[in-house]
């Protein structure tokens, strides 16, 4: 505690109380104003981000325009800037990631929060939180050197054998491609989902479980009918947060997606994503228009992430409200 810094005894000796009081009030206002200034500065930064990206994207919108959004032809050297294949790649890889990591993450969180003995759950949860801090470039290098060969050599052939009647799982095995990027993203967002949902499960009040147990429910029925429904809005929030991370991931995806601007029915084939095309081509872009389009793609990504974020907030808010309405 900092009690030693409050020197009451020295107060009357230095100045009269009235002068001191006025000085203190002035200092109060100054310090509070200073803190407020810092808060305004944060607002300013976000506003600058908005305005700058909008202005920087404007040339791209003006020259290439909205048609770029429904063309998949990307040939910058001949002035063709269709970004549809990037949008496709971003959405499909993030979708795969959420589909794979969602159930596994929630399952892991259930075990950590509800089933496993505290002595085991504590360290494992700490480990998972630590792993959420592993940088994406490390996931990227692992994906490139370990995951991609495994996908090409084992997982993709196995999928083709068993589910090959679907167009999704046909074609050549490249190793790098949409599916590999999706799997890598799934591994990357797994700790995020598990850590957040675990916190949410821990916040479910004990009487929710006790009521269910008192009705003679089994352990799983307690989880499935009391704990999970109660935590639903939080779980959705965690999933959307993870989705946001997957949508914006540039580096790891650029290392394993194959970097080919094409839309293909097969998940095995190489693709491209919004973030990874910016990461790969920005420093190599020749010509004003090429660069402007890449800046535009960056801004598109920004808008997309904002939409996801705001949607998440509204969703959580409305689910939370309907829950409290049902409770009332």
């Amino acid at each position: 505690m900092a009690t030693e810094s409050i020197e009451i005894a020295s107060l009357p000796r230095t100045t009269t109380t009235a002068v001191r009081l006025r000085g203190a009030q002035l200092a109060d206002r100054l310090v509070v104003g200073f803190f407020g200034l810092a808060a305004w500065l944060v607002l300013l930064v976000v506003a600058a981000l908005f305005v700058t990206l909008a202005i920087a994207a404007w040339p791209a919108i003006k020259t290439v325009g909205w048609p770029a959004l429904h063309s998949a032809l990307w040939d910058p050297n001949n002035g063709k800037f269709g970004v549809l294949s990037f949008v496709f790649g971003t959405l499909v890889t993030s979708g795969i990631a959420l589909l794979l990591a969602g159930p596994v993450g929630i399952g892991a969180a259930l075990v950590l929060a509800e089933v496993a003995p505290k002595r085991l759950a504590g360290p494992v949860a700490m480990l998972i939180e630590l792993l959420a801090a592993v940088p994406s470039v490390v996931f990227g290098i692992w994906g490139l050197f370990v995951l991609a060969p495994v996908m090409r050599g084992a997982i993709e052939p196995a999928l083709a054998r068993t589910l090959g009647f679907l167009p999704l799982f046909q074609g050549y095995f490249f190793g790098v491609g949409i599916l590999t990027a999706g799997v890598l993203l799934a591994i990357m967002i797994l700790p995020t989902i598990a850590a957040i949902t675990r916190d949410i499960f821990e916040a479910v009040p004990a009487h929710q479980r006790e009521g269910m147990l008192a009705l003679g429910a089994t352990k799983w029925e307690v989880l499935a009918r009391a704990v999970i429904p109660y935590a639903r809005s939080g779980i959705i929030g965690a999933l959307v947060l993870a989705l946001g991370r997957a949508l914006g991931e540039a580096i790891a995806v650029a290392m394993v997606i194959g970097n080919k601007p094409a839309i293909s029915a097969s998940l095995f084939s190489p693709g491209y994503s919004l973030a990874s095309v910016v990461a790969n081509e920005f420093t190599e872009a020749t010509g004003q228009q090429y660069l402007a389009v890449l800046v535009g793609i960056g801004s598109l990504l920004f808008v997309l992430s904002m939409l996801v974020n705001v949607a998440a907030r509204l969703l959580v808010w409305s689910v939370g409200r309907s829950q409290s309405a049902a409770r009332a």
Binding site: A27, V46, A56, V137, A217, K219, W220, N309
Partner: protein, 290 residues
């Protein structure tokens, strides 16, 4: 209140079938937890194995060498990373900590609400978009890549983390502590600066450290701000190498020597980030015990 019952618990199913279903589903959940832990442990252990082979004294003290010449290190990238992250902290922390104190202790009404909302939104902005922003406002006007532009990009990523963790930290201080000081006639600003903030210090430092750990591994915003370099860059106004950038560039190269350096870099980055993270968590725990 209990969740709404859509179906009765028993119905046609016998107790035994319900119990075996429960056991089965719990086993599935265990499987999920095992899979998650195993996958992530696998990645880290693999990086340790590959990376350890690349680490030697030269790795930490030498510049990268051209392809074909064995050896060489990533010393410039290590220094560059430290330089960029330090500058970013210098930019982000004063603003972030003061804004966080404002939100936690003084802020009510529209300003506080907007700052809170927008810093949450800022957390979700892809780091590459922030890189594009730093490129547009600094690299384009100055006409060259620089460590400073990279530091600005990283500072923007740090800012919301520092703001929100500082806010949490000062909120955790029991109201009675500053109130005690106020009751003795201490002015509000002294109560904040000399009583509440020192009590919340460990929490604030924890947040600051976590934000450092978060940006130290960022590579996307550095691609077109720091840009990378094969040499020493003592001037922060010139292109500078950084560890995550070097890993990205070398891992994608077709040369085994460079890939080896990339693995070494990945391991160093993991060790660095884990060390910062664990320090932060231990500090926070120590504060909680006190």
């Amino acid at each position: 209140m209990l969740a709404r019952m859509k179906r009765p618990l028993s119905g046609v199913r016998t107790l035994r079938s319900r119990q075996s279903w429960s056991t089965f589903m719990i086993a599935v959940a265990w499987l999920c937890a095992g899979l998650a832990a195993a996958l992530l442990a696998l990645i880290v252990l693999y990086a340790i194995r590959r990376g350890a082979a690349a680490l030697n004294l030269q790795f930490f003290t030498h510049l990268p060498l051209p392809v074909g010449i064995a050896g060489g290190g990533v010393a410039n990238a290590l220094i560059g990373s430290v330089e960029i992250v330090l500058m970013a902290s210098l930019f982000a922390m004063p603003v972030g900590i003061f804004a966080g104190i404002y939100l936690g202790l003084l802020g009510r009404g529209k300003l506080a609400y907007s700052v809170r909302f927008l810093s949450d939104v800022l957390t979700g902005v892809p780091s590459i978009a922030i890189g594009v922003f730093a490129y547009t406002i600094i690299v384009v006007p100055t006409r060259h890549f620089s460590a400073i532009s990279a530091a600005v990009a990283l500072a923007i990523i740090m800012l919301p983390i520092v703001v929100r963790t500082t806010e949490e930290a000062v909120r955790l201080v029991p109201a009675a502590i500053p109130e005690g000081a106020l009751a003795l006639g201490i002015p509000t600003y002294k109560a904040i600066l000399l009583v509440t903030v020192p009590v919340a210090r460990a929490g604030i430092v924890t947040g600051a450290l976590l934000s450092v750990a978060r940006v130290a591994g960022e590579s996307a915003p550095l691609l077109f701000t720091a840009f990378g370099s094969s040499f020493w860059s003592p001037n922060p106004n010139t292109p500078t190498s950084a560890l995550p950038l070097l890993i990205f560039q070398y891992a994608n190269s077709p040369y085994r020597d460079w890939q080896q350096l990339a693995w070494g870099g990945a391991l160093s980055l993991i060790v660095l980030i884990f060390a910062i993270n664990i320090t932060a968590r231990l500090m926070f725990r120590r504060m909680a015990v006190r």
